[in-house]
């Protein structure tokens, strides 16, 4: 396990991105904008990728395991986004 890369600038950008999107999404009591939701989901996947590759030390060592670990949140993020976008597309 290698935690040093977790403190790289990429990690800070991801943390800031999630927090900023959360604050922007809840600025007013209204439905969350799709853009803010997309930002949260994209940053979630980026954070997962960073943890899997750097913290769990899977960068270049076990590519299939790393891919499987990243696919898990990607699948649910894509499903959640598709569900949020579906009404706008259908109506």
């Amino acid at each position: 396990m290698n935690s040093s890369k977790l403190f790289s600038s990429a990690n800070w950008i991801i943390m800031l991105g999630v927090v900023a999107a959360l604050i922007a999404a809840q600025w007013k009591h209204q439905a969350i904008p799709i853009v803010a939701l997309t930002i949260i989901l994209v940053f979630t996947i980026a954070k997962v990728r960073l943890i899997v590759l750097d913290f769990m030390s899977l960068r270049g060592t076990r590519p299939n395991l790393a891919r499987a670990l990243v696919i898990w949140p990607t699948f649910f993020a894509a499903a959640g986004l598709a569900k949020a976008l579906a009404p706008a597309v259908w109506h």
């Binding site: 809840q26 979630t44 997962v48 649910f76 959640g80 569900k83």
Partner: protein, 181 residues
């Protein structure tokens, strides 16, 4: 007589335990979230109504608390050669985890009334099952962080921190699915 495992063999054993734990968590939460997704597609009206009773602002603040906690846990792994700092970061991670549990308790108290409505029961059954299961993990691992801060054993801290990141990731996926979509 059984041979004493070498350091490498012990590390492999630790790795295997870690992967079993990580995949066990991801599989369990995966099935629960899949169930939630299917039910939300089958009952869009009642799920939409039920979500009006949730507290997304509080849950959003709790997301920041959990992110800060996993950051402290990662710092504890980073400062393994400085026991005092490592202990401090572990206790901070545990404290933020306990704050998450407390805030979730406050959130539940707002939502409890709406859960008794028969029209919203399907949503709230799944909601309490998924978030309650997650909450139990947060409370349990936060407690383990306190014990880990007493012994400061490297392999234990690494396993706990990794599980903490998995719990954090599960919440980051669960939060937009339940509260925001």
């Amino acid at each position: 007589m059984a041979a004493i495992p070498t350091t490498e063999e012990s590390d492999e054993g630790g790795d295997l335990l870690l992967w079993v734990l990580v995949w066990g968590e991801l599989a369990a939460f995966g099935f629960l979230l899949l169930g939630y997704l299917v039910m939300s597609i089958l009952h869009p009206e009642s799920f939409g109504l039920a979500k009006l009773h949730l507290a997304p602002r509080l849950a959003g603040f709790n997301t920041i608390v959990l992110l800060a906690s996993s950051w402290q846990a990662a710092l504890a792994v980073r400062y393994q050669d400085k026991p005092q700092l490592q202990r401090l970061f572990l206790l901070l991670a545990a404290a933020l985890g306990i704050l998450f549990v407390a805030l979730k308790g406050v959130e539940y108290s707002f939502e409890w009334g709406a859960a008794s409505d028969p029209n919203l029961q399907t949503f709230f059954e799944l909601y309490f099952l998924i978030t309650g299961f997650h909450l139990a993990h947060v409370a349990f691992v936060a407690l383990l962080f306190v014990f880990a801060s007493i012994r400061l054993e490297r392999s234990t801290i690494v396993i706990l921190t990794t599980i903490w990141h998995v719990i954090d990731i599960v919440w980051l996926v669960m939060f937009p699915m339940i509260y925001l979509t």
